[in-house]
């Protein structure tokens, strides 16, 4: 059996889901036997090639997130929204009812330690959306793996089920929205 190729990324997330992925402890060795990683913070590959599974952590908060997400969608046979932020917008979505003008003001004008701050117009900086959105509002998503972060056991179960070609099934204790 050929190895499954897996890509992962964190867009508007906190890398907590990735930490949880690493938390599967010694099962990592088993995992590495079964899968190989494409683009991922683990590998430092910068662009995603054709993959079997893409795990996306984080919601969509800016233009760059969309480019990454679309790259994943294009290349991954199965796209997974991993964690609360990817599924609901999560904590970053708390800003959804704060006016974007106020956000910029706070960050660049009134923030602690800022003097004569200016809003940058550097094209290198990703431009933020009015609101943060879950990834399934931008691309089609095949599977959802909730949790903040999803427990390591849930990630393990999920990946092994997918690897075996099964519809992933989480036990009761593995299903969490927090």
């Amino acid at each position: 059996m050929s190895k499954l190729r897996v890509a992962t990324c964190s867009i508007a997330g906190c890398f907590g889901c990735h930490m949880s992925l690493l938390d599967i402890d010694e099962r990592l060795f088993e995992l590495v036997k079964a899968v190989e990683f494409d683009r991922s913070p683990i590998t430092d590959i910068k662009h995603c090639g054709p993959c079997d599974i893409g795990l996306v952590e984080g919601g969509v908060c800016n233009a760059e997130n969309v480019h990454v997400l679309k790259e994943f969608r294009k290349n991954c046979r199965i796209l997974v929204a991993m964690g609360s932020c990817a599924i609901t917008g999560g904590i970053p979505a708390w800003r959804n009812n704060v006016d974007l003008w106020d956000c910029f003001q706070e960050v660049y004008h009134y923030g602690i330690g800022l003097e004569n701050g200016q809003v940058p117009n550097d094209p290198e900086l990703p431009l933020p959306f009015d609101k943060v959105h879950p990834i399934n509002e931008v691309v089609r998503v095949d599977h959802f793996l909730p949790g903040c972060p999803p427990p390591a056991d849930a990630i393990w179960r999920f990946l092994t089920d997918l690897a075996a070609g099964r519809e992933p099934r989480l036990d009761y204790e593995m299903l969490h929205y927090d």
Binding site: I91, A93, N136, H143, E173, L175, Y177, D178
Partner: protein
């Protein structure tokens, strides 16, 4: 001999005048619900308890049990539709479970778990809703309100106070309080009110009591809402308090 009907093939006895929900609960059978509470007058708004009554759909909490009726509840189709309802409740509000004091003890979340909801699915509305922290003991977090009116009923029917009501209509319906300022602190609401304990979500929540129970030990961490004993009808034994 008492009368009976069948619920998913199981024979359920009932007293004249009981609803399907009441009879099922007495027989230890769980029917998903959110706006129902045994202590209060049936309301019938969340529609989670929708069952098939001889082929016609109806709310178990408001439809009376009748001799010989055939009721279906735990069907895959009904649970799928209930899941859609829970998803609707999630997207119409702002539910950020990871930062919610009620998480783990929340009935909305718990029915989501019970029904295997993995995503809110529908596009989020991200409505702008007010948070009211004016009251010394209680927080009113409208982002989490599902408009079940349990607090309205408890305050009116048990506390005799009318602290809460629903204002507006349609998707703009919102929880309002009995004060010209709109502030909870300006009502006669008290932490000892029955209405302070009945909210199924984290919308009405006691201040300074959040996150006291460690993850793993909370009400719904290990047990599905369906497995837990039904809500006690007497005050003080209420579960689901954060």
């Amino acid at each position: 001999m008492s009368k009976t009907f069948t619920l998913d093939g199981k024979v359920i006895p009932f007293e004249e005048g009981e609803t399907i929900m009441e009879a099922a609960t007495a027989a230890g059978v769980y029917i998903p619900h959110l706006c129902h509470h045994p202590e209060f007058k049936p309301h019938g708004s969340c529609k989670l308890c929708t069952v098939s009554i001889g082929g016609r759909l109806g709310a178990a909490c408001t439809n009376r049990a009748e001799e010989g009726m055939k009721v279906e509840s735990e069907t895959e189709a009904l649970n799928a539709d209930r899941r859609s309802l829970v998803q609707m409740l999630f997207v119409e509000g702002n539910h950020v479970c990871p930062s919610c004091e009620k998480s783990g003890n929340c009935q909305l979340q718990a029915v989501g778990y019970h029904l295997g909801m993995l995503t809110p699915h529908f596009p989020h509305f991200y409505p702008a809703r007010d948070v009211d922290a004016s009251h010394p003991d209680m927080l009113l977090e409208r982002n989490r309100c599902i408009l079940c009116e349990l607090c309205v009923r408890a305050s009116r029917d048990v506390d005799g106070k009318n602290v809460f009501g629903i204002g507006g209509r349609g998707i703009r319906a919102r929880l309002i309080v009995n004060a010209a300022t709109g502030r909870l602190a300006d009502t006669d609401f008290s932490v000892t009110d029955r209405a302070a304990e009945v909210c199924p979500t984290g919308a009405i929540i006691r201040k300074r009591y959040g996150f006291t129970v460690p993850i793993g030990k909370r009400l719904y961490d290990r047990h599905s809402i369906a497995e837990l004993p039904p809500l006690p009808a007497k005050r003080g034994e209420g579960r689901g308090e954060g």
